[in-house]
Symmetry: C2
Subunit: 319 residues, 2 copies
Amino acid sequence: MAFYIGIDIGGTNIKAGIVDELGNLLGTAQRPTGVGRPLTEIFRDISRTVDEALATSGLNRSDTSAAGAGCPGAVLPDRGLVVYNNNLGWHDVPLGPELSALLGLPVVVGNDANVAALGEAVAGCAKGASSAIIITLGTGVGCGVVLNGSIWTGWSSTASEFGHMVIVRDGRPCTCGRKGCLESYASATGLIALTREAMAAHPDSLMHRAEDVDGRTAFDAARAGDIVAQGVVDDYIDYLACGLANLINGLQPEVIGLGGGVAEQGEALFTPLREKVRRELYGGGGERSTRILPCTLGYQAGLIGAAMAAMQHLNKGDF
Amino acid sequence: MAFYIGIDIGGTNIKAGIVDELGNLLGTAQRPTGVGRPLTEIFRDISRTVDEALATSGLNRSDTSAAGAGCPGAVLPDRGLVVYNNNLGWHDVPLGPELSALLGLPVVVGNDANVAALGEAVAGCAKGASSAIIITLGTGVGCGVVLNGSIWTGWSSTASEFGHMVIVRDGRPCTCGRKGCLESYASATGLIALTREAMAAHPDSLMHRAEDVDGRTAFDAARAGDIVAQGVVDDYIDYLACGLANLINGLQPEVIGLGGGVAEQGEALFTPLREKVRRELYGGGGERSTRILPCTLGYQAGLIGAAMAAMQHLNKGDF
């Protein structure tokens, strides 16, 4: 059995995990990232976190074959380079070579959404599927695309930004500069905007009882019977269904996995979503339907996926 | 050198071509399809057309290793089955097995837009590129996706319908049943609709001098200095750019090739289109830009692509 190290470098925490060749997570550890510190300190802490994860799994560095690291932002996997990461304030950081020197292992680097998608494809909601698109409904709409079992990063290595697919031309301004992107409507932020608009128009709505308006407010009030809130939920699901139908018409992945805060609404989201998507598919969607499923791995997806990316890289002789 | 047969079965003509392993077209032939005749007659004529193409290339059937056939509609390549083809009036026609028996060769079947995309990727505008999306701007917006050198057909074998990606939610009704699809705006039909609307609002426009309103009317009048017509052209290119930017943000193919009648406008289309797309790319589109190019092969793309699909199928041991 071969073992691989998965590393997730976020704006808040560094996480590390030890993963076997089947995608099983054997041990994990984490430490605060401490954004703003010198890079050498952060790298040293990544190395320590890896050692702690090894200790919890009862393995040594010499038992592992390669490591993968995911982080947000624009990453060039071929060169192990983090071009830009606004959470960490990184520009042109040679993360792959630096970690490789520290760990004494080949290291592959990827965008965090992409490696998490690979994790869900190998060991999570899309386990056994040959293709999957994993979408995170959080502050933004993150996306990772796995085709024929591998991450699709495109010609310039930064593909899979389907959150920045315009579905409402000249619609809501998006943080990316376009107007009407899927992210502007289908993110938790988009849901909150829809919620606030409906609240302003309907002072009697149960939604006003929420202490803070967040991505749960409309779903909670809808469950309590509030018709205006149900309208917000319906509108939100319409936008999301529009985006997913676009993706299925174009790519027909075997699975679309949804993660992030909004996906925690469970069947209140998934049941109407599947029905709305089905109605919009070209030619009925063909013989075999894309399954729309909740992600199952949470933060572990990034660790497992980073490790599996390292395994694939090694097996293809790409190091 | 190995040789392959490419067949294109359209609503008007059956075409056949002989292609070498490098994608060179060595000989072609064609006959009318004669839609409505018994299938046995049409199949017999396909076989005759293949023999005529062989004769023009100086080869025999025994010189060829496999054949590929493209036709419109929903096709299941795994079973060689044409599920539905409204041009030919076909339902569940086992085209692959029937042609295989007639030609005495393994036969692979594909959707015509998909095999044409492979042709452009192997020997046309995207020659040498590892990934390409080929879009035909005709009556509709056809699309074929080539990733890692192979046609992407998705889980249910009928993917690549990016013409049916909604870009204007609740916009123009599309023939597919959705509203606001890229096809409703970026097809020649969509361009004609924009042209007619502008003509109705501007009785003095030069566009009224056209005998018939078609996909050239607005471009021609714009070239002659008509400001209203230029506005139509600008709007049309805006819609198309929106769709292409969506595709690039998501997939970052190395090349997007545009074919069909509207693409014949050349740089009057491509120069402003490239600039508008560039402005809409996420994060500036990364280090390497997708090239947006005119298709170069015309009808030959379908023949070359069908033959190359047969070659790939044979080389992978998939027959």
